[in-house]
């Protein structure tokens, strides 16, 4: 499935913001360098984000990429999805 990288990035960011709001989590200002675990999102938030992104983008890079390291920063997380969408 092909999705242009801009739309992947904006989709990911919008889900991060949306789920943080729904879960009453204070989201740290999003930068590519921000460590995901310091973003204010806990595992349940990340789980919901990954599920929503699978619905929106049709990909789940966590289950797909055996060799890639788990993303540590927000930038890694976005690239994780951009690479999987290529």
């Amino acid at each position: 499935m092909r999705v242009n990288t801009m739309s992947v990035r904006s989709n990911v960011i919008s889900q991060l913001e949306q789920v943080a709001k729904e879960q009453n989590k204070r989201l740290a200002p999003l930068t590519d360098e921000l460590v995901l675990l310091n973003s204010g999102l806990d595992s349940l938030c990340l789980a919901i984000i990954v599920a929503r992104l699978e619905d929106v983008l049709g990909i789940d890079p966590f289950s797909a990429a055996e060799d890639a390291d788990f993303p540590v920063t927000v930038g890694d997380f976005i690239r994780f999805y951009e690479d999987a969408a290529k």
Binding site: Q23, V35, L36, L37, N38, S43, L44, L46, A47, I48, V50, A51, D55, D60, F62, S63, E66, D69, F70, P71, V72
Partner: protein, 466 residues
């Protein structure tokens, strides 16, 4: 090793050498076992707890560990109350376990501390005492698990059943430093506490108030050699920049299905470690450990002779018979856990693929979100309170972060058919109801409106197993 050979937990701990070199490290305080040999964490009031049914309701894990070490053999019952038990369930636990004394610390919720007349404070400040810690009772250890109605189930173990899978340390091995992401009031965490205490090691306790990264740094600073957690704990740890603050020799997964992806990632991240996934449950005890780097378990485990644990698969679920299973449930009319032949049905459904069994989910649709079990009925009961809902089915959706998420299929009454434009409104009202009545992990991550649900002749919604 049967408990009779060991006596109480303290007797077993005391029998080892070098107690002063062994520690329980908490997030805020630590204790050497040598200090515990000369003093007490209970302010000299141990005798007041002799023969009592004691609720251990400390906020802190270190004080809970100290109380357990001191009171096994002395208390009639030790009821382990994890800090996330909702306060409205505490009176039920107290009544069901006939609790008549409580051990608390400064972090115990005030309502809990007031709920029992006899209260003894536990503190990491050890008070010197001359009195012998002599206990001969076979203390019942009560662990809480989630029940269908939302109220916890009280599962009865003894030190012997809990420690059945723990082998003593070989003479040549160096003292292990254990750690676990689990809370030690949960079965998976309690196993690690007992491994550290009975296996000649030390333990780094986690803390709910501490970030994953800070915990990993602290565990690394203490030289953790053996560390355990659920696949969800490990996925989170591997997303931390501090994942390489630890360099363990042994990495253990338990409490959830370990899929090949998480096993592979741990093998890559900690190439020096032996990585194993264990099967254990509060009711069935520790059954086996798989260390070959593959998900699932070899079918040959089912036909092992002379094993401590016998296993079979019946009606698709794994059944276990061993001296490590729990004795019974407290407070239910039929408190038996094992069947007439002594097998405990784990409710975990397995499928044979080639020469390996793989876990495919739970009977009864029980959902495991990051190690927390959810009975679909309790969520459905909340959804069904919405006036426009005819019926609902709560089920699992596979997830690579928490293993699973809760999702719901909802059938609306005709007058509120999604076609007439109220669907979005009803969806947010249902979610609001759920958020008010349920902890976060039980609130559906998605709601789908469906025209019908399959209903069995018994009138019950048909659940798929996985």
């Amino acid at each position: 090793m049967p408990q009779n050979d060991r006596g109480s937990l303290w007797n077993a701990v005391r029998a080892a050498e070098h107690l002063s070199d062994r520690f329980l490290w908490g997030a805020h305080a630590s204790i050497s076992l040598g200090d515990l040999a000369r003093g007490t964490s209970l302010g000299g009031r141990v005798e007041e707890l002799r023969g009592r049914s004691v609720l251990v309701a400390t906020g802190d894990q270190l004080t809970a560990a100290l109380a357990l070490v001191e009171l096994d053999g002395i208390a009639r019952r030790l009821v382990l109350c994890p800090p996330d038990v909702p306060s409205e369930h505490v009176p039920f636990v107290i009544a069901t376990a006939a609790v008549d004394a409580l051990v608390c610390d400064r972090a115990t919720p005030e309502a809990t501390a007031r709920s029992v007349g006899s209260v003894v404070a536990c503190s990491p400040r050890i008070v010197a005492t001359d009195s012998e810690r002599s206990g001969r009772l076979e203390t019942e250890w009560i662990l809480l698990t989630s029940g269908t109605t939302g109220l916890p189930k009280l599962v009865v173990h003894t030190l012997a059943s809990l420690a059945g899978a723990i082998k003593g340390r070989g003479p040549q091995a160096s003292a292990p430093v254990w750690s676990t992401f689990y809370d030690i009031r949960r079965y998976g965490g309690l196993q690690i506490l007992l491994r550290a205490l009975l296996g000649g090691g030390s333990l780094v306790l986690s803390s709910a108030q501490e970030s994953t990264g800070d915990f990993l740094i602290r565990a690394g600073a203490h030289g953790v050699s053996h560390i355990s957690g659920t696949p969800s704990h490990w996925r989170r740890a591997l997303m931390s920049p501090s994942a390489h603050s630890i360099a363990p020799h042994y990495v253990r997964l338990s409490g959830e299905i370990a899929d090949q992806a998480i096993v592979d990632r741990l093998l890559t991240s900690y190439p020096e470690a032996r990585t194993a996934h264990a099967f254990a449950s509060t009711e069935a005890g520790v059954a086996f450990e798989v260390g070959d780097g593959l998900a699932g378990f070899p079918a040959s485990l089912l036909v092992q002779r002379d094993a401590d644990v016998e296993m079979k698969v019946e009606d698709g679920s794994l059944r276990i018979r061993s001296a490590r299973t729990a004795t019974r449930y407290l407070g239910s009319q039929d408190g038996t856990i094992a069947d007439r032949d002594g097998f405990v049905d784990t409710g975990d459904m397995v499928e044979l693929r080639g020469d390996r069994y793989h876990f495919v989910g739970r009977r009864g649709g029980i959902i495991n979100v990051g190690g927390l079990k959810i009975h679909p009925e309790e969520v459905e009961a909340v959804i069904n309170c919405h006036p426009n809902v005819r019926m609902s089915l709560v089920r699992t959706r596979k997830n690579p972060i928490t293993g699973a998420l809760v999702v719901a299929d909802v059938v609306l009454k005709a007058e509120a058919d999604p076609a007439n434009g109220r669907a979005a409104e009803v969806e947010s009202e249902i979610l609001q109801l759920c958020r008010e009545a349920l902890p976060r992990h039980k609130v559906p991550a998605a709601i789908s409106f469906v025209p019908t649900l399959a209903v069995a002749p018994t009138g019950k919604v048909i659940r798929r197993n996985a």
